[in-house]
Amino acid sequence: MAEQIATAKPVTANTEAFDKVVIRFAGDSGDGMQVAGSRFTDASALFGNDLATLPSFPAEIRAPAGTLPGVSSFQVQIADFDILTAGDQPDCLVAMNPAALRKNLMDLRQGGTLIVNTDAFDERNLAKAGYKTNPIEDGTLDGYRVIAVPMDELTKEAVKDSGVSGRSVLRSKNFLALGLLAWLFHRPTEPTIDWARKKFAKTPEVAAANIAAFQAGYTLGEATEAARTTFVVKPAALEPGTYTNINGNSALAWGLITASRLSGLPLFYGSYPITPASDILHELARHKNFGVRTFQAEDEIAGVGSAIGAAFAGNLAVTGSSGPGIALKSESISLAFMMELPLIVINVQRGGPSTGLPTKPEQSDLLFSLYGRHGESPIPVIAAASPSDAFGMAIEAARLALKYMTPVLLLSDNQIANGSEPWKLPDVTSLEPIPVEFARYPNGPDGVFLPYMRDVDTFARPWAIPGTPGLEHRIGGLEKEAITGNVSYEPANHQLMTDTRAWKVANIANDIPRIEVNGDIDAEILVLGWGSTYGSIRAAARRVRLGGRKVATTHLRYLNPLPTNLGEVLNSYKQILIPELNTGQLRRVIRSEFLLDVKGLNKVAGEPFKVAEIEEKILEMIK
């Protein structure tokens, strides 16, 4: 039965210590669950927990209120050690309405804490969620610790003096829930109150209402013993340093700005809005004081086209999109490859094909990234492994593009883009500069400029930008004569140029880190991953080891070219498992490159791997 709390007397609650707790906020799209979740996360970060988050929201901006498709959720795992994922199963679920309960209850751990807004459980909402009887009363929730709170009523009471009225009143109920959770999990309250003040500085009445609701939620817990037990999760013993909580899209944007500084080139970002990549455009557009130029183009092709123009003109040129948009850019990427201009192309992958699952993670653009262009156009492909890793990989993409005069594809996905984790801030003054030298003088006999005369080490061609006297030259999509860059249809020249372009990219293998094996080097099985599965794979391996078995893991950040020692590493394991959020794309690449019978664990369910799924597969393979 639910603990009815509104009239209970204040009693000091017992506390229970946990090393980690998973909390999920679930409600209607309009209930402010992403805000509540991210505020809880930030407070936890400032408190010093390690954490990882997984937001999940519908593709519709406002699906019909109260319905199952309209449910939006935000999951966060907080811990006193270095966790790697947002957790498989919530220990605590906040359900703001019947639809949110119905959609999320099956994930809640048996015996877990469930906070429900009883005011939303009226006949209409119950029907919309497909409940024939009220689950709060019919025994459905037996086996959970239920905290039933009339949130609408309490919110109305809390905000009555704040100056908000009408429909705005109930908008603060997410803060009431947040306040209750702050009490339940011993979170500091100041970060949330400060945030609300700043965020709603222009509408002080909204700030006041949110703060009042937040405090009411907190007081409610404190004053009424809302739960018999509160949870303590101590700060994590992270490596000493200054930390921030970062999501992948921000990390990527900041990495690009940093690369602009490191290379001394102005940053240009040409892009067309698309989920889940748009936040990169939003973030970059805010930082004009770094000299950033953002160009919201008329379409995806113009996004990449403008970036190609900016590259020719001497900028650090970047375009970004998600799968369908990258498909539209494909012809232009081949042009950049043919003209040998530096260009960064970001693909924040989502569920496909076509519009697919635009707000869900998937890794199904790997083969498309490697091979999805006409003609022989192999380009470097690299992938971030986690939200904070996107910072360094953005800088790496810039380094490769500028050093080798080539387009580089940088892969992220929806989990990296919108998920967040603590990030130890790097010392930006000690980052390696990215040297760039524009051509200044003719490099051929008699003052002639030869735009395809290559560097002997990198095979990169010189970058001569408009405005440089004496280096006027023309480039284009037609095949070039080696050295002079003149149009050439000669058979032997096309062979030479095709081979040279491929060799230039393949040679990058000598300029990237060798792959390192983590865990039990002498294990029978190696788990190979790439991209956002990093955390789940590491966490699964940790569990396997805790069970007394051996497992090695390694993670690819470079998909083309592959690290030089990869074959050697793979050949030293009896079994290789590749978990991927696709139907086996890296597996196919590894099989064809190394003729190895690697096994896959594959999932395209619009959600990340649960740690248990990978753990189970590893155990099954080494049984």
Binding site: T244, E298, G309, L425, P466, E472
Partner: protein, 342 residues
Amino acid sequence: MTAPTYTRADFQTDQEVRWCPGCGDYTILASVQQFLAGLGRPREEFVFVSGIGCASRFPYYMNTYGMHSIHGRAPAIASGIATTRPELSVWVITGDGDGLSIGGNHLIHALRRNINLKILLFNNQIYGLTKGQYSPTSELGKQTKSTPYGSIDYPFNPVSLALGAEASFVARTLDMDRTHTEGILRAAYEHEGSAFIEIYQNCNVFNDKAFIQLTGKEERVHNRIDLEPDKPIVFNEGAKAVVLRNGQATVVDSSSVDPAAILVHDPTRPDPSIAFALSRLSHGPYGPTPLGIFRSVRRPTYESQMTAQIETAREKLGEGDLSKLIASHGTWTVKDPSKNGG
């Protein structure tokens, strides 16, 4: 610093020009080279960007910076150059297929943004490089390889389209009239912002004499309407005039109207309605057709506003500081326990 002295030869490259003998493109190339030589501006400050098609080979023959890019995409690529390097003079060379069919979207958006691009659209009303299919400016009923029963595609009027796309400078000229072409090029060059020039260009292989009404000795007298700023619009040696009737531009006998009723051309009118009305006098050069500048108005360029936003941000916030940026979402510190004696 003295301005460099150039001749046309300084803007020619060592590449063999590979248009068909007799193609109108040769004349346009000569006009552009002659015009640029006369400016005395350093050669390295010019960039020519083209798409795909016969006209788009143009950059290979210009001794400036240049890019022969993708079908239809030249305005997008040129936008990236012009917005990041406002000190350059960026030109787009396109055709009726490249600019109005596959690249129509980029063209209209470049025009509305008023990016400082000079867009030369060579209109020959046919696809040349793919050997003779009808184009988006081919006349209705045109028989080509892809329309053996005649075209049923209603054509664009490029000047009307540019005006509708909020272009701040719109003009039309003719390949054979080099003096007229150079005059229009100069006006476009001096205009701040995007300039659109439709150039009627004869394709002597697949669509010969398409513009005979404007180029033929007999015909042009009756059909060529020269738009000159601040002058009444008259042609045919003064016998014909253009008046506005119910908002529509109409050709009348000059003798039949009060001279005060004859439309006086003013390309600087803020409202494009009258320029649009003039563009509707002909739909393809089959009768009286205006040549000259339809519209030339001042509007801030995209890149000047972009630069201004950067400058304002720097004034307000100071030059960007990376350490502050990465700490801007709030931070916490984990202390080294060994240093605390703990």
